[in-house]
Symmetry: D2
């Protein structure tokens, strides 16, 4: 076993970190907890600096204008980008666009790439991914009620979705809809590109979450599809392959998510340590002297490091044997890392006292935004079941 | 030991609960996560219904227009009011006004009562309490930098406060300021009534907390006092008695806080149970069948009940032997109950899945608003130290 | 609600506590972790002192030679007796004899009382209760394989039991066996008195638990019944009533168990505090100065107190409305209190360092002996399910 | 980062595991919870099979008769050996002999090696290490009262030690004693070889721990040194180097300990899974169907894996940059891994129900024996402090 990180990766990570510190954190300080649209001009200036530094689209192959980082390299990059809620956006590596780019690269036709991928990678437009339905358990992606019925050269789409992240301001949706209701459960749905200016596409509302409806990229929408018509050529991959395309994204996507959580935990840890040494309870008696604070720091240090190795090992295993054979690992990191992140955020808040619940630090944003981490992509409870059933197969009598 | 609740108290609690269910919860449903000012007209209509029902000011003696509930009775009422974030407001029993009324009743002169208490109890005005300072550890209320210097018949006040809850829209502040800098530490500060329209009173901002600056009653302000002048007759009680007045409020106030937390936990518990029986994972297979959800329900049921007894016992003990002799109990419930509340809220959110982080239920409001419970009034860490030191006195060799 | 304890109960509890301190703890110090038979002479001397003090059989009505304490009084006494593993034994209030006495008093015939209850209450003999079977989940007491077939005036018994506590040295067993295999599940079993010197009664072994097979009262046996014959007059109550007799014992028995756990927690807490003030890490720098130790003390103080109220409330409710209507409470205290006890024991051990794992204190005995508390009488997992299902009934749509 | 394990290491680990399964586990089954001396003949037969397989002394260089495994290889081997409490003993890799062999190899003179190392590696004798003192906090190894005063060619030793593991039956002690009381704190003590048959060497008792005084290798002794005289040539290394020799062992020793804990956790995990699939709660309804058990399995799987990576990374870092620069890692794994081990053991016991507290499985032995893991080698509380202070150095203003 060799835990070393290649020299050139270290150099790249340091460059990313420096951009984060120098450019992204000042924007964060100014726009934290404010309307995302107000922050956009500043974010666009940072985006240009990222392009100038040659770090735009770190996860995307060079032929599509990206840096072309390897899987492990990009995983480590995700940790750095996640140190600020604005990080991924500045590198055009934000969800859900990053995932949509991957789908278009792998499954898109040349025309689809020309029409949708190109402006996405350039940053000219944004996109979203529309799967979750309010009446259906998110833990069971096979069941959905939204349908796309073929009529001639068109799909006619009807349905009701919610938690379509970043739909506000997006140019198109990648929609999961049932096209083959009589097929086997995993072969019923397809992924279809739907322009958001299509007649019948209704963005009902940005769902207020944790006190905020949000704006633009920083939002989750409820959407209704009323007889929306799109050409059949908007189909991604083959008919009925919607679920398998989604599955293909799942393993790598999980790694990116979990490394993002590590980054959030690490940033919170830094803030906790900075507070501990700088806040005096009495002259020359900083918080850092308190054993309880020391306990939090030590437990957090160990837990974050353990979590990071668990994620990087899962990434390494996906690389070696494929996501299918790494199911235990991919589900384990979901619940294990999300909890550790939330614990570190919580300790960091407590260390800050009243300041910790204000928007004068990023901690309360993490506290609110990341509570969903234990729910989306299948709640922790589902993933624990996946791990247990997979493990117990080896013990069946 | 007799755990029974007197018949007439039970009747009163049921009436309160019915008003909460029939009048307050519909307002909550409509205005949750929105600007407090938008909710005000509806809240004022509910306030009238509360007056009509004879439940206005449940905690205040009859001579001042209240219901005149006993200490234990009001403690149990607090649980009911807290089932909604709007509950206390509708009964004019909201912090910080409720505490200020108690101070005015106990320590106010007749003129102060006439001028400030009367409109407060009638609901014509609101007030706030200004103690915490940004540069000072909240856990040590003895140290403060705000000063009120006597010049003739006036105090001249200078200082910097924050987390002055509900200052936005308040008619007056009860201010803690140092009047006797050379006295013993606990006799340095006084409580002084400061009208918010006094020249030099600057409400710098409503502090953005958990993504919200808030409005009106629903806010926490940063305030600067620049040579603010008030007549000496605005002094509450004797000069130098600020800390002892604050202490006098502390025991009973803690009980009210903790019973409020019990109410929040109980409401969250109800929502969790309702969701468990109503959300199907598959036809006729509700969440309630899942052992993990059952574990949450059982653990929450036991924990809330245990916590409630701990609080009611502390209240009973304050009643019997006074707050000074119930220090272990008063500090114990602070950290014990806050944690249980937050755990129940967290489990209820998880049971709701994505819905749990939206503002379509009250849970995400509890999650955000109540995180401060482990911090304000002295962080948990401080109260654990109080309990330990008090307990260990009996073991000293 | 009135948390006061009657003066005369307080006096009685103090007398019990003094006997524990003066007589039982010295025996504990000498015989902890040793063969129970070696301790017997000393224990018998203490038993005489308990008789002399008029505290023998605290839980038994006066007409049978006991003190005749009320239910709540005895519950509080259990806490005191449990401060030492030898406490209950010295007062002839030890399991399983105490439960068997209650069965004989409530369901025994006059002859059965004469023959078995009298020597039991006098302390001349011991008894045991034989229910659990190795092949059957203890959480489902309805299913058992041991049968008692009626042949003329006799029952012929065959079966296999284990965890028959204190069978080694007992004069008789109260046996649960199926007598009516075709009846409804809860009416199949009967309770039958079986003398241990009956032909065919085989005590296979004392089961080694946590490194100890144990001796005499301090043991759990595996037992085989090979065509054991007893007269039909040894039947307790009616045929088929075995389960309902067991149920009748369950509510009160749970209270006694849980108050015993409170007593163990309280004793461990005392040891933790004593150690904290007496162990110096450096000159004049005792463990008590460490915030981590303070946290343990504060958390333990709050948790034990909360747990005690939960148990006493359950006892009060059983008294008021019967065990059937207190099912949520009776199951809640099982898992809630056992965990708190084990946490306090664990913290006390950690506070003692290496000394904590030796038999120089009682802590390691508690650690080993009480691990079973989360398993016997239905594991925690089962009781959480009971609570959840009972609670959710009120929410069914 | 490369998580792969070299092919030849995998082959070796499989051979070790097979020996454990085929030879050691049957002995465990027979002698668990019994007198160690009774197990010795069987253990000696296994030892011969280990020699025959060429796996004797896996951690020792070939020139001294061992297998000569590398540091990482041996770390992984420790996990396998620890699956049974008898594992290390069968491979002559048991504490404290393994550590003593390392000291003799690194610091022993040729004569010392000839006289003491040779019979130790051959298995002809056993040894022990005598450092901890009853009156001194184990967390502070610098302070000790045992002295070795030089008189001519001899040291005259007086002192009081306890928790001298395996002293019963050992041929010699490596003793930590103060030889230079006036030197700097870390240069006061020396390590000295003391034959246990020296006049004045008194083994006071085997300390009863968790109900067992134990025998032979399976014991912890209290020892008094009354004017014990040994030749000056029994000094290990230089005078005053006792602490630095102990430190040199600490990093690698910690890795071995932690990998042992991983092995214990992994064995407990296997037993939990086997029980889950084999124990039916009702026909065809095994424990494995219960979500709570699934949660335990999933959480344990993730936690053990995360812990193992944390330990192996610490080992890798010691290899790369030395133990001094890996202090955070070496202290982190102490508290992090011990807790996870104990949690997995606890869940495995709970899954076994009553069987889990018997000696019919190894779980109750783990539960008792390994509670000390959070105490010895510095309690968790001390190690958390080490990590925090080290981390905070980077944040000092």
């Amino acid at each position: 076993m060799d835990f070393s990180i290649p020299e050139e990766t270290q150099v790249m990570l340091k460059r990313v970190r420096k951009l984060m510190d120098d450019e992204v954190l000042p924007v964060e300080r100014e726009y934290l907890g404010k309307n995302f649209l107000d922050a956009l001009p500043a974010l666009n200036r940072v985006r240009q600096k990222v392009r100038d530094a040659g770090l735009w689209l770190p996860q995307i192959p060079r032929q599509y204008g990206g840096v072309g980082l390897g899987f492990m390299e990009y995983a480590m990059t995700c940790e750095q980008l996640a140190r600020s809620p604005f990080g991924n956006y500045c590198f055009n590596a934000q969800a859900p666009d990053a995932g949509n780019m991957e789908i278009l690269i792998e499954f898109g036709s040349e025309e689809q790439k020309e029409q949708w991928l190109k402006p996405l990678t350039s940053g000219a437009i944004r996109s979203c991914f529309s799967m979750t339905e309010p009446g259906r358990a998110g833990s069971n992606p096979v069941h959905m009620d939204t349908v796309a019925v073929r009529e001639g050269d068109e799909f006619v789409i009807n349905g009701h979705k919610w938690f379509t992240t970043s739909a506000d301001g997006a140019a198109f949706v990648i929609l999961m809809a049932v096209t083959n209701p009589d097929a086997a459960p995993h072969q019923r749905a397809s992924q279809i590109i739907v322009p958001t200016n299509s007649p019948g596409f209704e963005r009902v509302r940005n769902i207020s979450c944790m006190g905020h409806a949000g704006h633009d990229w920083d939002s989750h929408s409820e959407i209704r599809y009323h007889d929306v018509r799109v050409p059949v050529s908007n189909l991604l991959g083959e008919e009925g392959s919607g679920f398998s395309i989604a599955q293909a994204r799942l393993g790598p996507g999980r790694i990116h998510h979990c490394m993002r959580w590590i980054g959030i935990a690490e940033r919170s840890f830094e803030l906790m340590c900075q507070r501990a040494v700088s806040r005096d309870l009495a002259p020359d008696d900083p918080l850092a002297n308190r054993q309880t604070v020391q306990n939090w720091i030590a437990e957090s240090r160990a837990a974050i490091d353990a979590a990071r190795f668990l994620v990087l090992h899962a990434a390494w295993k996906i690389d070696k044997v494929g996501a299918k054979n790494a199911r235990v690992e991919i589900s384990s990191i979901k619940f294990y890392v999300a909890r550790i992140m939330m614990q570190v955020v919580d300790r960091a808040i407590q260390t800050h006292g009243a300041l910790g619940i204000t928007d004068d630090t990023v901690l309360s944003t993490f506290y609110r935004n990341e509570r969903g981490s234990r729910i989306y992509d299948g709640p922790d409870e589902v993933h624990r079941g996946v791990v247990a059933r997979q493990v117990l197969k080896e013990y069946q009598l």
